[in-house]
């Protein structure tokens, strides 16, 4: 190195130093944070690579192999991905090992026809090893969120002996408007002994159906069931069924009903007929014996519909309900009711 080049390098170094020194400390701190994060990520990738290599070592026991790779969600090295794929396809490998290998390469399944078919095959084959079926369900659950296409095999799962497979299939099919799946669940509501799913789960899934063909059956359930959780779900889901409205109003006001049923009924009324919520809420809010939680929820619902300036512009003066809540804001025994009532006064700003 010549004297002049050493001199030039020194000048460059000094310039860099001065530039760095002149920069605000924050930028240095951020750059070092970025470097630290890059280092952490690199280290993590190396660890995954080593764990994958351990998994691929057939000299080790299946348990050791699975334990090594289990903490990591996916692989980074494409060569290892191909090796894991070979494990998935290898009938000589233990099902648990194949399932673990598949779990780490889920992201390549959508682009790999062979793996895709294998997953659906395991999913629909009740005779397939449990580990492979469970993993196939997991893969399908993950990937189906990105892929709204519903494979034919889901229909087979509606009668699967394993409940988690049935729940998965009913959920997907009903969300996509499958009439047969909906009918099966409706039949189950009418004949619980032959139901594919427990009542609460069935109602939860049915309430996601685009077409609400289940309302009449569900209304009958509401009137007849003695199972508390099922009744609760039925109340919640019937807010949009006009024939059920009077019954829901009665439940919401009935002091003999459990509080959770009254709350669910009011929520259903709010969902199905929000414009009339003041009428539904007033007897509940006005009754001093109403449980505080229900009273608070009722007031909160009325805040929703009255806090807009458009409401204030329309309502020239405070009405009876405004005055009722104002009184509660001052006098309610329960502090949470007082707080919610005060919030009503503050948010709705009635012209008292």
């Amino acid at each position: 190195m010549t004297t002049s080049s050493r001199f030039e390098r020194a000048i460059v170094k000094a310039t860099i130093f001065l530039l760095l020194a002149a920069s605000p400390a924050l930028l240095h701190a951020q750059e070092s944070k970025r470097q630290a994060l890059a280092g952490e990520v690199d280290e993590y990738r190396r660890t995954v690579h080593e764990a994958a290599a351990t998994f691929l070592n057939k000299q080790l026991s299946p348990a050791e192999r699975i334990k090594a790779i289990s903490p990591y969600p996916f692989l980074y090295d494409e060569k290892q991905v191909q090796q894991f794929k070979s494990v998935v396809l290898d009938n000589e490998e233990r099902p648990e090992v194949r399932a673990t290998a598949l779990d780490k390469i889920i992201r390549v399944v959508p682009g790999d026809e062979r793996l895709g078919k294998l997953v659906l095959e395991w999913l629909g084959n009740r005779g397939a090893p449990r580990a492979l079926r469970a993993e196939a369900l997991k893969v399908e659950a993950d990937l189906s969120f990105s892929n709204p296409v519903v494979p034919e095999v889901y229909q087979k799962l509606l009668d699967d002996p394993e409940p988690q497979f049935r729940v998965f299939a009913f959920t997907k099919l009903i969300a996509h408007g499958d009439a047969r799946a909906q009918q099966k669940l409706i039949q189950g509501l009418e004949n619980p002994d032959a139901a594919a799913l427990p009542g609460t789960t069935a109602i939860g899934i049915l309430s996601m159906a685009p077409k609400k063909e289940f309302y009449p059956a569900l209304y009958r359930v509401l009137q007849t069931t003695r199972d508390g959780p099922t009744r609760l779900e039925a109340i919640r889901a019937l807010g949009f069924y006009p024939e059920a409205r009077e019954r829901l109003i009665a439940i919401s006001r009935d002091a003999k009903e459990k509080e959770e049923f009254r709350e669910a009924a009011l929520a259903a009324l709010y969902a199905g007929d929000r414009d009339n919520i003041i009428a539904y809420a007033t007897p509940i809010v006005a009754n001093p014996d109403t449980p505080p939680r229900l009273q608070g929820i009722a007031i909160q619902m009325t805040i929703d519909v009255r806090q807009a300036t458009s409401w204030r512009a329309k309502a020239k003066t405070a009405d009876e309900y405004d005055r009722l809540v104002q009184r509660l804001a001052r006098e309610a025994a329960d502090p949470e009711v007082r707080r919610i009532a005060s919030k009503y006064v503050e948010s709705v700003r009635p012209h008292y």
Binding site: Q30, K172, Y270, P292
Partner: protein, 632 residues
Amino acid sequence: MLQTIIAFEVIRMKTTPWVRALLSMALLLLISRCATIPTCPDKLMPIVEIQVNSTASNHDDYGTTTADMPCRARIANPYQLFGNKNFPGGVAVEIRNPAGSSNLAFSTTAGGTGSATINQTLPDDGSWATFYVTGTSTSAVDKSAIVEMATSASCTEVVLARKAMMIPQGAPPIPPTPARPRVEIEVGTVATIDDYIAWSPVSSRIRWADGTANATLNVTLSNMQGADHLRFTNNTLAAGSTATNATLSLSLPGSGSWVEFYVAGNFASPSTADKDAVLEVTETATGTLLSRDGLMVRIRKNANNLTTPERNRYLDALKKVDATYDSYIKFVKTHSRDSTGPVGSLVAHRQAHQGSAFLPWHRAFVLHMERILQAADPSVALHYWKFDDSAPNIFTQDFMGSNTAGNYAMLAPGNPIVSWSLPGEGVAAGIQRQTPYGDNGHPTVATETATLGLGMPPFVFADFKTMELNPHNPAHSTSGGGVSWIAGSPAIATRDPLFFFLHSNVERLWGRWQWLRNRNNNVDVATYDLQGSYAGAPAMGPNAHSVAANRTLGQYADDSMWPWDNKTGGTPGDPAERPDIAILTPFPVAVDVLLPFAQPQVKTMVDWLGKSLFTTTPSNGLGYGYDDFFPF
């Protein structure tokens, strides 16, 4: 529009200061033509200026509890370019305290009885409307009383302005006598609705309003003591940088001409409340306080770490968007849907999923929601759920709901979303969600470190976008399966407001990856793989749900995005086919945040810091930032 902005930027760089100022005004006019009231596509956004004590300077923004103080407001964008009025008949507004505060009373006449709200009409010719303010209580902190102004439009309500002031207990921090030099400050524009900043620099200006020719006033910009939220720099700031100085010295000419500077948030100290970031102007030589301006460093934060007031403001805004303005349902009806409803639509789905546009489309979707929330309460940001960590403060009855049993999230009676409802969806009130991981757990997803490590050197977008499959998909699918909306299908996942926290985190992970790998150049394939525009590319391959296979319209960098481009229909089965409806249009343009315009392109969403578009001047990008990384 984009070309116009670039042309302006180039001209601004190469011209004299007064020409630049003129062009800036023209730019504001141009932008104001595009800014429509969120959720009211055909209604232009009035840009409103408020003056407390009827002066442009803040030196006298101090009231009392005994006498009313005259204030005034006007529309700053009353006319179109060729003289037609933007708001014939004026703009009807409500003047009030922000929700949760009551320290001011208002009246329309001097000496009138103060009330919590008054209605006024701002004249359509830009002239002032006067109103009067009295304090109902005093405060020890400057800028802690806020005058809020909201529209009373029929289709929605939007907060148009918030101006901070103080009702001091004794003498005001800036006494009226002896008279001090008056300075005027504009952060962003003359409006206050853009006084919400993140880490990116916001172009601002200051002037000496009552100076004398040839005189100079040397001032120092700093934070008010005890509130170190702001950072400053002068107008020589380089493109792609931000303001990082705790103080800034400026010389203000006596001629009254404006001096430009930049302000940004202090990464170490984001705001927790509106107007808690107080810019202070003092005379350099004497330290005499001349003016204060209340801002907010509004940042997207880990929702698990919010203060109680931050959490409550978010919930109140969310509920307003849902129940009062009926805007939330429009997001539900857009995500993977067309007019056929919750059954879902493949064409709608592929605009936003299974491909490169997954990340930019959801960045736009989340930002759209954030801007709608901010129309209800400008102090709110769209926070995130760090779904690879436990979040016990999110899954509570007071926030997004607890779930230990049953099909619904349990919510406290005073929680604004306790009666979460979705008009027209035909679903029960409440949030259908099971969380099998409990209130203290989290979904089984790739960790943040694992996600940031995706791909092989040199770490390009084509690899990173596979995060759609993990952590994104299992963040949904392992949140309850069965009866959970968020796990059910893309066409119903949006029903659960947790969706937006989840996707804010997806968006944060992408922004963090861009920062980590320096992937901000939106014309680089390493930053975004599908460059150019759709030109009759083939339809999706045999494995339609491969994230690498989607080559349809809307996936390419130069493509505009449905629904914001309002392009619908097309030949069934064609890769250029669009859903048959476009409800969320146009994109809500925020005052003084240029990007991403009313019809965002994929590449404008990629360029969230504005570093690609603005190569000669600093930019505030898409106008948001995160609490856990500083992308400069």
